[in-house]
């Protein structure tokens, strides 16, 4: 169910950790809060859970106020009808797996038979059907993570909050759990708010991504949208390597813009909404560059300075008069340091940012 924050501010002492934050997290979707360490993701999540009390603002879950600084309303966590998966999993070591998973039901006085059935169902969903009677401490990290997950889905809640639940797993398991988590969410249709600082995780998991920076949201949108149409340099760089090229946009007629650099024309693109002629910064992802023969007289000329072979692809640094450009090509492409090349940008994949490249 929809979770909404309005002008929420949280300070610890003198430092403002969340700064007048407003956001709406869609019902039935996975919203991912993404950002560098210390930007306030966990704090935001804990404010929604009721584990922290914001200084000002309003938080609603499913249209009901759970926090409102005006009037001093703040529901305790146990009355917000939510579930949460903690980064440390928070598996109670003095209980068995079943007791851990069943506690949200016991806390609300569900009857024993119902409880047993719900616990069985939850354990089966996370693939721990046979582990119910184990002590929680006799589980591997990945299994503990599943117990925490089972505990969060054992009863229907308005929203499940997850704070970097996969960060303690090894890389392979992390990717597998990512898929399972998404499948589980699709099956149950629950609203999930998921915190991570891993952009791959955010991209592959999120229906919507919220990029945090110093207690504010810089940009929100579908992963592709945020990746391909970053609102600022910071956002563009957060999602991986990006080349920034200064250019002047000149109208070409029929709604097209020519992007001219001091080394010649870069591309002619369909003018995006609101684009005006004048100086622009072109954000070009490394994979948007194509290498062509310099003899053709096409593209920006340059010389390959470095080449890192990855396997399925290779990363090149091409020295040009516009500065060094990061280029990703397929692994079998023959290129070596010192080669003279020319770079051509895919017009579809040039994204214009306002202002100057070095701003």
């Amino acid at each position: 169910m929809t979770v909404a924050l309005q002008q929420v501010t949280k300070r610890f002492g003198n430092t403002t950790v969340i700064d007048a934050l407003s956001a709406t997290f869609r019902s039935g979707a996975i919203s991912v809060l993404l950002g560098a360490s210390g930007c306030g993701k966990t704090t935001t999540l804990r404010c929604i859970a009721g584990l922290e009390t914001p200084d000002i603002g309003r938080i609603t879950i499913a249209g009901l106020d759970v926090f409102r600084s005006e009037g001093g309303l703040s529901l305790p966590p146990e009355r917000r009808e939510i579930a949460m998966v903690f980064q440390s999993y928070a598996i109670w070591p003095h209980m068995t797996v079943r007791e851990n998973v069943g506690l949200p039901l016991r806390a609300r006085g569900a009857d024993a038979r119902e409880q047993a059935a719900a616990v069985d169902r939850a354990l089966a969903l996370v693939g721990l059907a046979d582990f119910g009677s184990r002590m929680a401490t006799q589980l591997s990290g990945g299994q503990q993570q599943r117990v925490a997950l089972a505990r969060s889905i054992v009863r229907p809640t308005r929203v499940i909050l997850l704070d970097e639940p996969l960060s303690n797993l090894d890389a392979k398991l992390r990717i597998a759990m990512r898929k399972e988590l998404k499948a589980l969410q699709r099956e149950l249709g629950t609203t999930m708010i998921f915190v991570t600082h891993d952009q791959d995780e955010a991209m592959s998991l999120g229906d919507e991504v919220f990029l945090f920076h110093e207690g504010r949201i810089l940009q929100q949108g579908e992963p592709q949208e945020v990746y391909h149409r970053p609102a600022s340099r910071y956002v563009a760089e957060f999602f991986g390597k990006t080349n920034f090229v200064d250019a002047v946009a000149a109208p070409e007629g029929d709604g097209r813009l020519a992007l001219r650099t001091n080394q010649g024309e870069l591309a002619v693109i369909d003018a995006p909404n609101g684009a005006t002629p004048g100086p622009v910064v072109c954000a070009i992802r490394p994979e948007a560059w194509r290498i062509v023969e310099p003899a053709g007289g096409q593209g920006i000329r340059g010389r390959v300075r470095e080449r890192t072979f990855i396997g399925d692809r290779q990363e090149l640094v091409v020295e040009t008069a516009l500065g060094p450009q990061a280029v990703i090509t397929l692994g079998y492409h023959a290129a070596k340091a010192g080669d003279e090349v020319a770079l051509v940008a895919d017009p579809q994949r040039i994204h214009l940012l306002p202002g100057q490249a070095d701003a």
Binding site: A49, G50, P76, M84, S88, W92, A107
Partner: protein, 556 residues
Amino acid sequence: MRNSSSALARHLPHLPAVLIVTVTMLLPLAVLIIYGFTSFEDGQRTVSLKPLARVLTDSIYWQALGNTVGISLLATLVATVLGTALGWLFGRTDLPKATLLEQLATLPIFIPPFVGAVAWTLLAAPRIGAFNVGLRNLGLPEVLDIYTPGGMAWVIGIYLAPYVMMMVAGALRSMDPSLEEAARVSGLDGVRTATRITLPLIAPAILSGAVLAFTIAIGLFGTPVVLGWAKQILLLTSRIWIAAQAVPPDYAAMAILAIYLIALSLIANGLQRWLLGGRSFVTVTGKGFRPHAIALGRTRGPCLALVGFYLLLTVAAPLAILIAACLSTYTWSGRFTLGNVAEIAGSADVWDTLKNSIWISVVSASITLVLGLEIAWLANRTKLRGRRLLETLALVPVSVPGIAFGVGVMFLWLHAPIDVYGTAWVIILAFVGRFTAYAIRPIGASLMQVHPELEESARVAGYGWLRTLIHITLPLIRPSIVASWILLFSIFMTELSMVVLLYSANTRTFSVLSFETWSTGIFSVLAGLSILQLLVGASIMLFVRRLFGSRALSNS
């Protein structure tokens, strides 16, 4: 590693530790058992159950056993309830001035049990106790009587509460706060989270604290004698002392009673191990901030009052009453004098015994510390065979009640061919043997926190093991070294239960002098001596802390 180094050279670091552990710890206990299960007839020692049979068939010893168990259990209850409440307040709530109050609340540990007992005599003894005098003046009945099993348990318990408190507060602090938060999110309210999650999680710590309190309680000597003598409520420790005073001393009874105490301690520790089954729920996560303190809200006032009341009962009132008594012509005459102070200051006996106490304590604490350091280092930092066994053996005496251990030391040196008995060395050997564990544990714990790679990188950089130890390891664990030395010193300065069996005319310590003064019944002088003892202990502690403890390197 070169293979040419001989077996002897490789085991060289072991040897002093092995030797001292054997002589100061294992032999006294062995001799104690021998005295308990043999008898000496016709110039020959033979295996015999006579001593045991004699003690088992004498009702006074059954009574002493009953008193010890009953009073110690009651005292443990007092200590556990108080200690858990205090530990929770300090470790988990937003009690104001918690850091300061917590430090104050550990002070009772540093008040010698004997001094506490003397103060409580002055506070709550029938007729002379200040509370009772007050009640009498108000025309009320004098209800307090500290000379009862309940009174004894109360005094013992309130002074043992800090041990439970420290364990509970420690467990609460190292608990992963998200365990409680997860319970709240799952639908438990604050109270049910406390009872269903927090309490079970810290139960092992509470249990350890209770068992520790019990093992200390059964071995106490000063408190039960001072408070129990008037009505002849005698405990095992009092009986051991009485047997030692008999002419000739009743060695057989001493040995069996000491073995009783050891058995009680073993039972308590065994019970703890059985209940816990090796479980410890303390879950340390490297991540995150201090768990959110629980807001006390309107109960803040009463909670503060509880802490204040505790400090009043254990520290403030006893100190005040000792000072008042010391300045009175005789107890509660209402007339004041500096005569007692002058008498104490002018007494050669006071200064001689004080000197003895100080040098014996300094030497013992230093030897104990070096031995503890060596054993902890061997156990944690070498691969020598038998290092863990050595550590385990060295930890045994700490669960042997002091007076029982003292009996073993006494038997060992009584008939030894070298002259140790009657000199200060017998006291020093007893201290070292009984208390090395107090150095091994904290030093071992902080050694474990120093990552071996810190030392290994020094070795790689070219330091030998000794220079690595001196320049890297010791500075890193210095806080625990200083803290251990101070703790040992303050224990030794006031130790009575072993000294009372081992002292001689030349090696009377200050605590012995106080004890003798108590038996003469001159309370004003006794109060003065108690204050002096506290002052000397406190000033040496401060001095050492200032000298060595200023820079804390570890994040403890």
